[in-house]
Symmetry: C2
Subunit: 229 residues, 2 copies
């Protein structure tokens, strides 16, 4: 059985990405990060999702991105709420974490090399992506080229592929695809600013994108909102 | 004053690289990693070097590369000694750490973005490099291209450069250049397998390359060896 490393945040996208990797017959090695997020609801979701998919292994790597500061997700800054313009053409919001996907993919690369596996999956999405540069196809292709020059495995002839099955899908399409693959979205978490019980705020970029995605997909939204939705 | 992030391991190469960045007029932001190395002699050296150069800031980032296993530098494997063939054309030794430079450069990228600086220095060396794929010029160029697609700073037009001033130098040339810049090499550490007092083994690849470098450069070697050299 082929094995693959899948970056798993516990959100809608990475969970659907995990389901797609499973549907392609890969043995699943899920990797999550504890990176100084202001809340741990997403790691709890990642663990639930990993268990639901009976992954071969789930590693949670602790790294200190908060040491950089520079993002409202890791530093003491306000998460923006009820923004009218999200995504293409709008400013990059302060929820952007410097070099996050570069760092996450670099760790996935190291683990993939040790596992002797040639496939990494990441649930990035260039359409409803909140404007992050490291979610764009040109970034992913450049990372793949770099990765294939970086490792002993590559020097020895094993080409590595970074799979981005969601990159050209809308959030509604992702949710529909996940539903087709029997993903239980009630296990997933998207909110940047949940309350103490883990309920979603309903107002941050991530909540707004998720909510619209469920509406457009026609899949029932089991998200628990702090204000009832 | 322009600022630069410099990856500093505390060895001969990264210390000379720091001295070169200083000679070019950069304000120095040194970054080191505590990555599950079997010994901490190199971090102690990095701190001494950073202090000697009066860097603006020295960050030591803790990351868990040992979680991957796969290298004698982080896992419970024997460090190879007295190898007759080192470098070009020989097998990659087990001191190779999966994706190490990729991960280190990714953290440097994140810090550079927060500092709004456009220059990263890394003391990689393609000649006496022990055969690691992530020390080659083609890897560095691919990383630079990827980095310039990864970050908000780049999207906003600030091009990032990865400087590798040592990449085409022999170890003897590096030592001679460092000596010209008044580097105190007694502060540096190279050995993969020092004794409890931090004295170098004199037999691992890193010791052998360092020893030969000092011999060929004509610079006196102040290294403290466990067996007297």
């Amino acid at each position: 059985m082929k094995s693959a490393v899948i970056l798993l945040s516990g959100g809608v996208d990475s969970t659907t990405c995990l389901a797609i990797a499973k549907s392609l017959g890969f043995d699943l090695y899920a990797m999550s990060f504890s990176y100084g997020q202001r809340h741990h609801a997403e790691l709890v979701s990642a663990q639930r999702v990993a268990a639901a998919f009976s992954v071969a292994e789930h590693r949670v790597v602790t790294i200190d991105l908060a040491a950089f500061g520079g993002s409202s997700l890791t530093a003491d800054m306000e998460v923006p709420k009820n923004r009218s313009s999200i995504g293409h053409g709008s400013a990059i919001p302060n929820t952007y974490v410097p070099a996050r996907n570069t760092i996450f993919l670099s760790f996935a690369l190291g683990w993939a090399e040790v596992l002797m596996c040639r496939d990494i999956f990441i649930g990035v999405n260039a359409l409803d992506y909140s404007g992050y540069p490291d979610c764009r196809p040109e970034f992913i292709r450049a990372f793949e080229i770099m990765a294939n020059l970086a490792t002993k495995a590559q020097v020895e002839g094993n080409r590595l592929t970074i799979h981005t099955p969601l990159i050209n899908m809308t959030k509604a399409q992702i949710i529909a695809r996940g539903a087709d693959l029997d993903v239980d979205f009630s296990l997933t978490h998207s909110c940047y600013d949940p309350d103490a019980t883990g309920a979603a705020c309903g107002e941050c970029d991530s909540c707004i994108i998720r909510k619209k995605g469920f509406e457009k997909s026609g899949v029932p939204d089991a998200t628990r909102y702090a204000n009832g939705g």
